[in-house]
Symmetry: none
Subunit: 458 residues, 2 copies
């Protein structure tokens, strides 16, 4: 029996325990954006260090940062073997709105083979597959066929503020041949894909201030520029009738989709009507001239992620508010630059804010967009591994989300990433009732084991 | 010595006791919005009944409602005399934030001729002037020169839910020639005014729903109509460039300001620059063609009082939200109708909501606008009374807020109200350290006595 066969058999035999361990990990509410959960984020890092040590990663440790700890560890088999750097993140999105969860977000439950919990898919569940793949090797062959390094961060959902600095100051410890990340999705159930394009992001927060305090709308209404109205006018003006973004210079550095890419994309089995139905809308809305798939993966966007101002409790309060605020994120594509886009946005806003209103503008964070070479050895090994697990070759796709670390690994370490994800778009990863199919958890471990094997064979 | 002279002298001679009695009344925390104070509200009603009986109002009683009691009572001098219905309210605003009071809100103190307590001005202090005016007549002439009826409610600060039904079911008992209300302000210290116009209101809440759940802005951004953007576009479209409201038919029933009114308004000592500075804005914004005073008192408005959607906590969450909501109030002027305006608003919205978005529309409440005839006998009597007390004729003013009971008396009993108020905008009536100058308390009683005399003379 070959090493890979024994490793796959071990995985199959131990699935229930693997899932039970994952459930322990999911119980810890590692919400990185909310300072109230800081202790739980640290507790999760410690849990991972203990777990890695238990697997044989003796140098595993949680390294302090100005934010949340970064967990690292390595297994060196032989310097001549290729080295795979595994990236994952152990923090999760806030679970709000809580009342829409059918079971509590941090009390995982399994129903009909699906595991429900915040982080089940994004990214604790997918990250944990790599730890379990290592266990399969350690408990069967004694070592994996490649050198493995882990870097597991706790700030992905809050902007990965500590990660770039950490990568820069740990270049040597992190040196590798390729990065592997499972934090993305299958193309569709049973249809594997490898992501070669990611959007970047510029996330900003703006606050408009009108009067210096909340006023009575009876006494003052009719003669004061209401900052909610000013904000609404600005947001309404950010798209034109063709749903193109109106910020001056916004599209200047956008690399057009090649004919080749557009052909490949239009050949994908994608049903735009079903897509719209699945999220409960009667119609999609895209930039004029682009398909739903193109617009949602390969074109830049602007979305207001949150808005608030005035009285938002029950009933009526006749306040003419002092302030109105919005969080706005722009998804970027190569070669847009996050900082430059923030500057263009701020300039556009300042040129349009009315005289009676003051603007506060803050860039919350940014991420570079990425396109990865589809012809590398690692891509070939990943493609073969996925084909063996799913009995069909993967699609090469671009996705609409951002994984800033991919850009960081590229720009800081010169490393390409293989994005081999096992989520589904329907996993509700930033929504109530996030879930992950246990079949995909098992398939992911298999694919990772096969990838190691093929990549080691070169 | 004439009756009025004797009554005025009695008032002057008994001021200290009047104030001591008012202090007793102010000690009872009749906070109508907080169920925890329900007993104290009832206790206040009983206090007033006892006090009225002591003054000779033998039929005084506190009538139960579904909410707090309504205190009524009457003195019939002679059926041929005109009848004045006195409205006031004995409930008060909550005193929070308590730590900003320099003395406890329900332990009244006098400092330099100013009485500090919750309710000192709004409205216990002003209401009590009418009781003390009655006492002056009873103890000097034996009866007032007019028939007097009292209706004192305990739910004004919580929306007067019981009052309209009570008025409807007590038409006969409340029949009168005019209503007098002291629950408003002087134009400025020493400058009397009579309010003859009040705006009405239509308050609505709207919710737009795009996708049926919050989505990941990376995965879906670029192809989904974001409901915050749809809401922003609708709100932005509610005013045109001249800051006129664009809802079809909105102005159809607006009674234009007469040339006479505009002249009188422009003659008022109003400094629009100081007004803007006082609320911290660089510039006012009014409907094109109208002054700040006109726009804030006598023209209809539309203000978003609250807006919310998506993620509004700290930091960044890349959500493409399912819902966005707004509370919107429109201040109305005669002859706009609150229900009709709500219908026009809903129709306007439904015609503009994009295909991919669903609208929920709810009218929260409405209030009729009011204009009172300035040429009536009662207005003439009030004007003369104020001129005698303040040695200058009162201004006739319109205010931007709503006093729903004035509309109720008009529509349910056909009665005009004389709004003869002795507060000042600086009395902090809904804020910590509410106060009322004892000079104004005395002037108010004098003015009421003189009003009775002139109104009786016809």
């Amino acid at each position: 029996m070959s090493s890979i066969t024994r490793a796959l058999a071990y995985s199959q035999a131990n699935q229930n325990r693997f899932v039970a361990e994952l459930i322990d990990l999911l119980r810890i509410p590692s919400i990185s954006t909310d300072p109230a959960y800081s202790d739980q984020v640290t507790q999760t890092a410690d849990w991972l260090v203990d777990h890695l040590k238990g697997l044989g990663v003796e140098d595993a440790e949680a390294i302090r940062t100005k934010g949340h700890p970064i967990v690292v560890g390595s297994i060196t088999v032989d310097p001549v073997c290729p080295t795979v750097l595994v990236y994952g993140h152990y923090d999760v999105q806030p679970p709000d709105p809580l009342d829409l969860w059918t079971s509590p977000p941090f009390e995982p439950v399994i129903q009909e083979g699906v595991l429900y919990a915040r982080g089940a898919c994004d990214d604790k569940g997918q990250m944990f597959m790599h730890l379990k793949a290592l266990e399969c090797w350690m408990q069967t062959a004694g070592t994996p066929p490649v050198n493995l390094k882990f870097i597991l961060e706790g700030e992905e959902e809050s902007g990965s503020a500590s990660l770039p600095g950490f990568i820069e100051s740990h270049r040597e410890e992190l040196s590798a041949d390729v990065v592997v990340i499972s934090d993305s999705s299958l193309f569709a159930p049973g249809i594997p894909s490898i992501t070669y394009g990611l959007r970047g992001m510029t996330y900003v927060e703006i606050t408009l201030t009108g009067p210096d305090r909340d006023l009575h709308s009876g006494t003052y209404g009719g003669a004061i520029h209401n900052p909610i109205h000013a904000l609404a006018a600005l947001i309404a003006g950010m798209h034109d009738e063709g749903h193109r973004i109106t910020i001056d210079g916004f599209y200047d550095r956008v690399r057009p989709l090649s004919d080749d890419e557009r052909r490949a994309m239009s050949a994908l089995p994608f049903d735009a009507v079903a897509w719209a139905q699945e999220v409960g809308v009667r119609a999609s809305l895209t930039e004029s001239g682009y398909s739903v798939l193109e617009a949602s993966t390969s074109r830049p966007t602007l979305d207001c992620n949150g808005i608030w101002g005035g009285y938002i409790g029950d009933g009526a309060k006749t306040v003419l508010p002092s302030k109105a605020s919005a969080k706005i994120s722009m998804r970027l594509v190569p070669d847009q630059d996050p900082n430059e886009i923030a500057e263009l946005m701020e300039a556009w806003l300042r040129a349009r804010v009315p005289e009676s209103i003051q603007l506060e503008f803050r860039m919350v964070h940014g991420a570079q967009p990425v396109l990865i070479d589809r012809q590398s050895d690692a891509m070939a090994a990943a493609s073969r591994a996925l084909e063996e697990v799913y009995a069909r070759a993967p699609y090469f796709t671009r996705i609409g989300g951002s994984i800033p670390v991919v850009a960081d690994f590229k720009h800081l370490l010169g490393l390409d990433s293989v994005l081999m994800g096992f989520g589904l778009d329907s996993d509700a990863i930033h929504s109530p009732n996030e879930h992950f199919g246990l079949d995909r958890f098992a398939e992911g471990i298999d694919a990772i084991l096969r990838f190691h094997t093929h990549y080691a064979a070169g």
